[in-house]
Symmetry: C2
């Protein structure tokens, strides 16, 4: 800590699934770095580490602040993203290019896979004796980074999910039936749990059932759950994570279905299975309900898909601000002489809502997955009001709705 | 026209698929009716005509204006909706209940199926000699009512589709591949065509291909279209209507796929096939691309589903105002002594954007479907800039985005 501040150029990259606020972090790093004379060029690598080895950089240090602000407000990764996971050979190439461009600072904005990339690059830098400062800036709609209260990108995605469930609950009241919405989240149920914010007025508000991947999913129990709510309310709105799996199985049901349909499962370089972009899980659950309650039952499923991760119309102001600060804090850490680390958001108080930004070891977040605390999960099919209190300050104000009818649904 | 203004109670109902602004029309009727001494009670029938025959009414005349405003801003049908299509026996019951409650004014807010219901009820009223004034207030995200420039509900749904495509285009730039989004629209391509608003900066903006149900869909041609764009840009964003069908076939491909999967097709009382709530069309098109371009091609599909019709976060201010005015104008027409009719929105000028509300015959809209004018369709796979000019004043301001990179996608 507080070593000499070396002079040289900086590289910033963005990685993994895009979010609505990942460009806020990019701009946060840029605007802080460019106030320091030790930093020469600020280079953006296009499509993450891929852009480094392909020598695809653009200079970022001279962009007018007004344009930077517009970029900050634009969802998805402006530099492009990648799912490449560097091996030793790949990293050697990264160093060759860093040396060639006199790069001494590397900022990588991404999730746990990206922080692991950052850690490996950093360790190879240390071994090779090349003076390099590596910093990870957190980003993931999955909210699954260890030692973070929450992660930039999640609150905006949660805002979208909350508004989508509010809207769909009103839709389902107007034309009652059973409605299943499949939400992103391979291993962690944070985003699916965000649907709980749609409950605002009374007990009849949906979602009535919420299934997260932290607990095993039992389709027979699911049928009975739905039947019970339907008998009581004449309708049922359900949030299901795309990552739900059967008891004793690690593989999500969605992956089983994809395997059956295609004969094989598509995975990326991190062995993540492609679950989104298919309606198979929703169709399967619809059919289970029809088999149980009769073919005439009005049952529908929607899969929210990619739009939940960077919908331009549901950016949380808190999220935008925190993503910006996370970028600035990473640059500050580098320019205070720190060698490496990851920025983590810690909640200091709930009322008024306040956070602080800590610099933590790369290895504490790299490649690890945080899941939803069991204290927020009710049995195997619901989320507590406590989770609502955790989430509410993050997502910003949600629209106010009014009902004409008392208990009538 | 301008007959005697009879005294009595009024019934208002909402019907068909909900929209983001259908409660604006409800409130428009209520606030205008309650200023007139001839109107006694203003009754809302719950779940459309179903509420009339089940005697499920609530009184609306005394709701404070502030609460009415909150209801107006709430998406989906506050009174509940229905897909019931009354036959002669059903209509007889409607009259029995109208007579019982001294109902002399009936306002039905809905699409072309609902205006047909309104027409039948009206004709039976005339035959039976029961003095009843029947008015249809337009509402449909499909934008498919005859003799309307556009219909309340459509601009807000179009706003959602535009924002979803803007967001997904940014997502697809960051992680390039082939992306298909399936948009609502059984027979009319207006909502799918709204995706054209996502193109804002340059030629590389998606959607790059747009398929509407007004022209036959050829899957082999589709494969070549996608291959051509992908070769040029390294990515391809595609808008597809759920209602696309093969040459010489009336049945949508989505219905063929549902039939194959389930052995039968689910239809409502209006013989409308349930196309939403299934990812089958998207999966089918993905597979077609993989078969053509290789299994390694990154290709995904999302089906927007129900959220596009009443998403609370994308209400167009113009739409909200026009829906309110359509309700008021229907009440005005009734209280000016008109016997029946449908309110139609006509565009008076583009710059400044201005509309007028006409009272047209029920039979001109009842049960008929308007489709997208061929002048807006380019070949079999795109939409003109002219359509953008038609649509832009309706949806309101869209967010501004900024790109870091010139031609690089």
């Amino acid at each position: 800590m507080n070593q000499q501040i070396i002079s040289g150029n900086a590289v910033i990259g963005q990685s993994g699934g895009p979010t609505a606020v990942i460009n806020q972090s990019l701009v946060g790093v840029i605007e802080q770095l460019r106030t320091h004379p030790q930093i020469g060029k600020i280079l953006g690598c296009l499509h993450g580490v891929r852009g480094i080895i392909d020598d695809q950089f653009i200079e970022l240090q001279d962009i007018p602040q007004q344009r930077l602000e517009r970029i900050a407000q634009t969802p998805s990764a402006s530099l492009g993203s990648t799912r490449d996971k560097p091996n030793a050979e790949y990293c050697q190439k990264i160093f060759d290019h860093f040396a060639k461009h006199d790069v001494r600072y590397f900022f990588y904005i991404g999730g746990n896979d990206s922080s692991d990339t950052c850690r490996i690059v950093n360790e190879l830098g240390q071994k090779s004796g090349y003076e390099l400062r590596c910093f990870h800036v957190p980003k993931t709609i999955d909210n699954d980074l260890m030692h973070n209260d929450h992660t930039p990108g999640y609150p905006s995605a949660a805002n979208f999910v909350a508004q989508a469930f509010m809207s769909d609950d009103l839709d389902n009241r107007a034309l009652p039936g059973i409605k299943i919405n499949v939400v992103m989240g391979r291993h962690a149920g944070f985003l699916t749990a965000a649907s709980v914010l749609a409950r605002h007025n009374d007990e009849s508000d949906g979602p009535h059932l919420i299934y997260v991947p932290e607990v095993a999913f039992n389709v027979d129990k699911f049928k009975l759950d739905v039947e019970r709510i339907y008998a009581k309310l004449g309708r049922c709105l359900i949030a299901v994570s795309e990552g739900i799996h059967r008891e004793g199985h690690h593989k999500p049901i969605a992956a089983e279905l994809a395997e059956t349909a295609r004969g094989s499962v598509e995975t990326d370089a991190h062995n993540n299975i492609a679950l989104s972009g298919t309606g198979a899980l929703g169709d399967y659950l619809c059919q289970a309900i029809r088999d149980h309650m009769g073919a005439d039952t009005r049952v529908r499923a929607d899969t929210f898909g990619y739009m939940q991760r960077c919908f331009i119309g549901s950016i949380s102001p808190v999220d935008a601000q925190e993503a910006r600060m996370a970028g600035r804090k990473a640059a500050d850490a580098a320019l205070s002489g720190n060698l490496d680390g990851s920025i983590a958001i810690q909640r200091v108080s709930d009322s008024p809502y306040n956070v602080e930004y800590q610099l933590i070891e790369l290895s504490t977040v790299a490649g690890k997955t945080r899941t939803l605390d069991r204290k927020y999960i009710v049995d195997d099919n619901n989320i507590t009001d406590g989770f609502k209190q955790y989430l509410a300050p993050l997502v910003g104000n949600l629209p106010v709705v009014e009902s004409l009818r008392g208990g009538i649904v």
